[in-house]
């Protein structure tokens, strides 16, 4: 088939892009012209080859998590800087106020960054339930979950089989939270899914603290250089129970 315009039509026919009249004309032509029929057969075969090859690249879960966390960061409202002229007389008052306020300010700043983290954790937990992407490694065997993280993280997360205590180990997955890689260990109690997020921290140990956020309970604590946060729609008693089992 020498004619280029015609050749394009063959592809449009193959892709179901021709209108009825033109495709009928082409079918008539194919019935008569062996060359063109052969050509169509070849391109059909090519397409079968391409589709059988399964050429799609899938994004890694680390990448997906990174995009999500970047989007969340982007969605945070930007701080607004207000320039206002301050009368001369008030400088002394300002200085006094500053002294008073600095203590309170420090407190609110840390509180705010904590609630941002809690937000992030809630969002991640919800996503893990919705996107049918709860686990990267599915197993109830702690000796399978733990080695799975080796080489994927620069720390070894705590994984415990607590089925005897009524917390079934479901699996684990990689996450990106609060600006670093995190492990999510997934447990289940009755129908309630629990994500336990963990990553290394330089801060000193802290007792479990319960936070309620958007209908979820979060229990966070720090132990032996690691930060932990368990989140679930489970009641706070049982979630705290899991925390104490993990801290043993």
């Amino acid at each position: 088939m020498a004619n280029h315009a015609q050749r394009d039509l063959l592809h449009a026919y193959l892709d179901d892009e021709l209108d009825l009249v033109r495709s009928m004309e082409l079918e008539d032509h194919l019935a008569e012209c062996g060359d063109c029929a052969n050509e169509i057969a070849n391109y059909r075969a090519l397409r079968e080859g391409v589709q059988a090859a399964d050429l799609r690249y899938q994004p890694s879960s680390e990448f997906r998590a990174r995009v999500l966390s970047e989007l969340q960061r982007e969605a945070q409202p930007q701080p607004v800087i207000v320039h206002r002229r301050i009368p001369r007389w008030s400088w002394a008052a300002v200085a006094a106020l500053l002294l008073l306020a600095s203590g309170a300010l420090l407190l609110t700043v840390t509180q705010r960054s904590e609630s941002r983290l809690a937000n992030e954790i809630v969002a991640d937990h919800v996503r893990s339930l919705m996107a049918s992407h709860l686990t990267d490694v599915v197993t109830s065997d702690q000796h399978t979950v733990k080695p799975w993280f080796t080489g994927k993280l620069d720390f070894s997360p705590l994984v415990r089989d607590l089925s005897a205590d009524g917390f079934e180990l479901i699996g684990g997955r990689l996450e990106y939270l609060d600006g670093h890689n995190a492990a999510a260990i997934v447990y289940q109690r009755r129908k309630h899914v629990i994500n336990v997020f963990t990553w290394p921290t330089s801060e000193s140990d802290a007792e479990p603290q319960v936070i309620a956020q958007q209908g979820f309970n979060l229990v966070e604590w720090r132990q032996a250089g690691m930060y932990y946060c368990a989140i679930s729609d489970l009641n706070r008693q049982e979630l705290t129970e899991l925390a104490s089992l993990l801290r043993k």
């Binding site: 592809h11 892709d15 391109y43 075969a45």
Partner: protein, 183 residues
């Protein structure tokens, strides 16, 4: 406070409408750049751009809209790179016409390994690679491809035709060489 509620809502809407097409965005970026690191960078930047421009999204097809952004991000990225990359012309001498009198060609085409097909597509000049990808992997219609690439329908048609014929020549050429070596 009102602003934060707005942006929270915007994020939720974005997660529902655009995020499901992250796979397609990454797939296209990965194929255009031909490596994972750059593919991830482009796809991520495109997602961020999409989010920033989400207010301008008028409810047309979200996938086509996102892929257009991926493609633009890629073009900007190529511009920033040395102009050496991706400017390779298709070398006609390496891909001469096939003598159809030999072994049935459709057999070769159907039996091409995934690796051979992958290499053949990677070898396509980018303007053909992108239309082939959108057609064969994303199953976009000609009209949608025309929208993403901002080119007339006729151009899309002829690029698909030309792209496929290059693919075919490349694969059959490889298979023929293989057959010769083994025979």
């Amino acid at each position: 406070m009102e602003k934060s509620a707005d942006s929270g809502q915007k994020l939720r809407r974005f997660e529902a409408v655009v995020l499901p097409h992250l796979d397609s965005a990454y797939n296209l970026a990965r194929w255009m750049t031909r490596n994972t690191t750059d593919g991830e960078d482009i796809a991520q930047e495109a997602m961020m751009r999409a989010f920033r421009f989400f207010d301008t999204f008028r409810g047309e097809d979200a996938r086509t809209w996102l892929l257009t952004i991926v493609r633009n991000t890629y073009l900007t990225w190529v511009h920033r790179q040395a102009p050496l990359q991706n400017s390779a012309e298709f070398d006609e001498r390496l891909h001469t016409d096939i003598d159809s009198a030999l072994t049935p060609e459709s057999d070769f085409l159907r039996r091409a390994t995934a690796e051979q097909v992958r290499r053949a597509i990677e070898n396509l000049p980018v303007e053909f690679r992108e239309v082939i990808l959108m057609r064969e992997l994303e199953q976009l219609s000609y009209k949608e491809i025309a929208a993403v690439t901002r080119s007339p329908l006729g151009t899309v048609m002829s690029r698909i035709s030309r792209g496929r014929s290059m693919l075919r020549e490349f694969i059959v050429g490889q298979k023929r060489r293989e057959a010769k070596q083994h025979g």
